[in-house]
Symmetry: C2
Subunit: 413 residues, 2 copies
Amino acid sequence: MTGIATRADAERLDAGDPLGRFKDAFDLPDGVIYLDGNSLGPLPKATPARLEEVARREWGGDLIKSWDKHGWMDYANRLGDKIAGLIGAGDGEVVVADSTSVNLYKVLSAALRMRPGRTKIVSEIGNFPTDLYIAQGLTGADSGRELLMAEKAGIVPAIDGDTAVVSLTQVDYRTGEMHDMAAMTEAAHAAGAIMVWDLSHSAGAVPVGLNAANADMAVGCGYKYLNGGPGAPAFLFVAERHQNSFEQPLSGWIGHARPFDFLPDYEPADGVSRYLCGTPGIIAMAALEVGVDLMAEADMSAIRRKSIRLSELFIERVEATCGEYGLELISPRSPEIRGSQAGFTHSNGYPVMQALIERGVIGDFRAPDILRFGFTPLYLGFADVWDAVEILRDVLASGVWTGEKYSRRGMVT
Amino acid sequence: MTGIATRADAERLDAGDPLGRFKDAFDLPDGVIYLDGNSLGPLPKATPARLEEVARREWGGDLIKSWDKHGWMDYANRLGDKIAGLIGAGDGEVVVADSTSVNLYKVLSAALRMRPGRTKIVSEIGNFPTDLYIAQGLTGADSGRELLMAEKAGIVPAIDGDTAVVSLTQVDYRTGEMHDMAAMTEAAHAAGAIMVWDLSHSAGAVPVGLNAANADMAVGCGYKYLNGGPGAPAFLFVAERHQNSFEQPLSGWIGHARPFDFLPDYEPADGVSRYLCGTPGIIAMAALEVGVDLMAEADMSAIRRKSIRLSELFIERVEATCGEYGLELISPRSPEIRGSQAGFTHSNGYPVMQALIERGVIGDFRAPDILRFGFTPLYLGFADVWDAVEILRDVLASGVWTGEKYSRRGMVT
């Protein structure tokens, strides 16, 4: 029980919220309650000016000299160090590059090479599809390797002496259910396997302790809770102890020890930089940095406390007011094992979500029947959550979503 | 002989230049003669406003709905079609994604799979290093494959029945020497090999006829002659005849036939879209599109005519006025086989280039001893080239570059 019984209670919490000041740092449209920051974080108000600066002053004004003058060459490392602070990693353990999918390919490839002779990647059947697809790309018919996709309860039993790598997303993209990072990492290590974590729904959402959990490698997304912009560059972690003992096949020139010597043979850079590949995308990194800086300013334990309270309020209100309309919670009831989101199934999930979005409450739909709502403490208040559930109940009660206009399936990412 | 004997001649040519109007579309700093657009193209004046629009109106204003509303989902294809028009490809044959290095990995992987049983990648010893490094990533010790790096004259003789793929950069990054795309492609095909072209120094610089040459696959860079911004997304071409017969291992969710069904098994999309991998970088693509649109407005044969005349003037003036200072042309004398750049060796190439840059003439240095100058007809005039050579001669004559301040090796990309 949250103890929030009226909208006035919610308003009082907002008034005393130590994170309340962050809301003004985001440019949210009027009339929108945005419960989809777990898919695409909103625009920080400072981002357009930073884009203008990187374009006009750096690129435009200093042209090619900017690679030195504005620190473009090690931008991927500097920004990586900032993200490291959000995920329990150290300086020099994180780098920003490419997409989450491409980075997964790099870390899975590296992990497979670190365990020669072992043939198995263990993952979860409900893992985010790209995690499975990338693993499939490395375990094709003629590879001599296999991808074993287990249900959650079957993961640990599936890890054995033939397992090269265990690859999991910490927070389930549909249900928000969280793995116990330390326990799972230990289980992988006990079998001699490398543990790879996808933090796409964790970074900026929940406290993450990569080094405390003794994790080996990780990847994650810049455009969800880090508010880095659509398709922002992703990040990649490798524990210091592995840094000069791994190889990966995307051996592009920026991961070379001396790229500007233009040598004909590849020689990997020291440390996490050997995970870099092509020329870094400076404009996209500039946008991502604004989001990361904002997140770094906030206290992650305060974020987690508020996130739990927002989610608890949402679930409590949905169950109290929408009980008769066939919504079924698929997220864990215990907030300790739930990320910063909640999912409900509904037999008409897609049109219900479309009708809800039309009323200004933006969540998203995930096939086949899931309504998904993200709770992002930096720009979401308790009264917002209260109002969102009121509108959800109105939509369900009115049956407006049964109309023709909501029945077509579009793309909601 | 260019027939340009005085600066007044050069000014007259500028006054009558049909491409002259494009100079005003770029934001070039005062006092700079920019001969490095072959490394990083300058800022189009329209780019900051487009960045503001994609950030504020699209991302900020429409949030997650932008994937549909602003066409973000197929941005990579739409922009690819625009680039196709610049490189002699058709609609649906080009897509924008990732970096040149990552795209090379995809096309080389695909080509190797299309020629099972063949073990050899043939490339050129002087190819751009990342092209070689990526090929090395696919031909490591335990791969059962090898990378054969030949001198230019040895490439065709090296292609045999064991060659899966021939991978070349059309325009040499140091000398500007161009391969005969049609003849080389024919030689590869005669041996049953797949031909992969890197167009990083071709796209927007010289007319490219991928389909006229019967090319199989190609990649290229967005931040050089296409003026897409530092680390802009790269592009990738696959001939229509191959489009449903190739596979590549970077099988991320955006290359899936139905990404939003969130299916556990990868199924490649039809056509060139199966080369997509992670979530597309929208902000970076928006910047690239401005540069591509500008290039598409200009006539490529007019660009080529002017590019040749600018390069001829530069070489002619250097040889007429700087002859005694030890500069050695390493670019082909015949403009027909020279891209839009010229290279000279000099025993003190690095400090000479630093001194030149300090005087406002921005070219670049390429190890071990090359001064490289790019000629970009959209924003460079004949008088600019005339003045650049005058300044080069002054620098060489004054010996200013022998001072201590120019002796340290920095990073010039």
